[in-house]
Amino acid sequence: GCTRKSDDAATGAGATARKPDQVKIALVPGGAHPYFQPWKATGAKVKTDLGLGDVTFNETSDWDQTKQNDVLKSLAAQGYNAFGVFGVSPENINATFEDLTRQGYPTASLGSCPAGDVDKAGFCLSTDVQQAAYKAAQAAIEAMGGKGNLVHLTGNKVDSNTQRRIAGVQKAVDETGGKVELLQTVTDVDKDLQSAQKAVADLLAAKGTQTQGIVNTAYNPAVASADGVKQAKLPIKVIAIDDDQTILAGIKDGSVAGTVLQNPVGQASVGSYALMKLAGGCTMSKPGVAVDSGSFVVTKANVDSYDAERQAKTEDLRKAFDSQYLTCKN
């Protein structure tokens, strides 16, 4: 007979300890998106700070899981041996992590956790999207004065992160005990800016006068609704997402009531740090643990000072990894 080779050879294969200068980290976002841009600079910075072999940033996967898998394998073939990945499709990404792990590469799920309760990456360091959406909705409700109608604009409906965001917003609305009504959740408006703009214009035309607040949990609708509300001169409070220039400008000129920031810098720097440790022989005390990288509500009041808070959070995260999540022999 035919026998199947046992798997044990593979699983333990690459678990050799690497010195920092042998560690080559690849940070791979799901595709081109402004949210990931800080990863690039942060990667370059940690490379020198930690004395890593290399850190690269590769956004060529074009929001396609198959292509992302290809990119990852190409990077591995290039000699990259630790991976921080934003999975294009949270449902499929575990399989990818498994592949990488099997070949002995430490992996981190950065910016987004795999769908479901299982995480095959070493750890997940990401915004708790449900929490962030919850906070954003709360901020919107507060800006609205605690009552009125809220609209939620978000991305691809068939994406588990979107589902979590919808749940987060719903939770905040439910907590008002009926004072705030979720008028509408508009999904699938993040694909491109133009359709977001069109959707916002139509929405404002149809329901602008009944709406008191708009909460965005995706980039393109955030840009579009900030602009759309300003143009329509409606007294609607807009909560945006992230700290893209256009959005910060909106906060400063008052067209945006606030934004919920995530912590891409923290994800890239702490993620790289932890990957380096894992490559050096440390293990996760709880493999697949999900760590919240933090989310921060920014309004006009703290628009100039929020970064300090975020840096503090990042520092806390690093300490938490050292003390809590990582188990190192020496």
């Binding site: 081109a32 999904t187 491109d192 133009q194 069109k198 139509d202 035309a205 393109n220 840009v223 602009d227």
Partner: protein, 321 residues
Amino acid sequence: MSASRTSVIAGRPEFTLALLAAAGFVALSVATGGGMLSSGTLGAFFRFLAVPIIIGLSQMVVLAIGQMNLSVGALTGLCSMVAAWMMIDAGLPAPMAVLGALAVGGAAGLVNGLLVVFTRINGFIVTLATMTIIEGLRYGVNGPDTFQGYSPGLRDIGRASVLGLPVVFLVALAVAALVGVFFARTVAGRQLLATGGSPFAARLSGVSNDRSIIVAHGLSGLLAGVAAIITVAASGSVNSSIGDDLLLPSFAAPIIGGVALTGGVVSVVGTCLAAFLVRLVDVMQAQFGINPRWIDLIVGAVVLGAVLLGTVRQRLLRRSS
């Protein structure tokens, strides 16, 4: 005489479309309790109708010679990004940016046409390849970031209205009229249609099919440039995702409007009416808060229905004659 003329008009596909459009508009107005007729809604309706019209025409020009242009959407994005880049990063005045967008669009279209002529590869395939290239260029202009806050003058024009109708929509209508005149009355336009109708016969009548192909693709690119300018003016912010949702609508408008894929037939009015219809569906979605995916389903079903209806209509016409 007049009776036969009315029956001729009633037999045209544009007539059916016009009826449908009017009926849809009235129905939506009633269903929204007149909300549809408020100036804000009407303004948004027509402002975002401008690009679908132009992009539909851009595809129609190439369909006229029996080819397709898959790069229209990406090209619109590239032209938008170039225009915004010229104003923001290069500090050029808005009129220069407008010319720049048109030039890029026209040039890219000409390249498409030249490639088709010189390689003799099907236009579908050529534009498939150039689409990829244009997508790369579009991203290259500003990475994933958004351009915002360019020329207030241009943006004012984008937002302005005349007699309750957005200026950009009027521009789109004017361009549509020009395209109509081009096909109906200019020698180049007629030659283009001749090429589409029967390339061999056209050649024997001294029409250069190669020139028709280049003109059609060039014009298609130029119209993509016009769509880009409208986008830049009307939307106030652009990034490398612009154009991604334009490819399918670019086909939907002319095809629903009665343009044959085999070439030789165009219908500017039909294309505009079809864009109007699709836009009605958009607005219906916003008014009633329908999941956009249902809209896709409905649009798909409606087109299939129109296809079937068209066949039935033709069959009836044939039977009656």
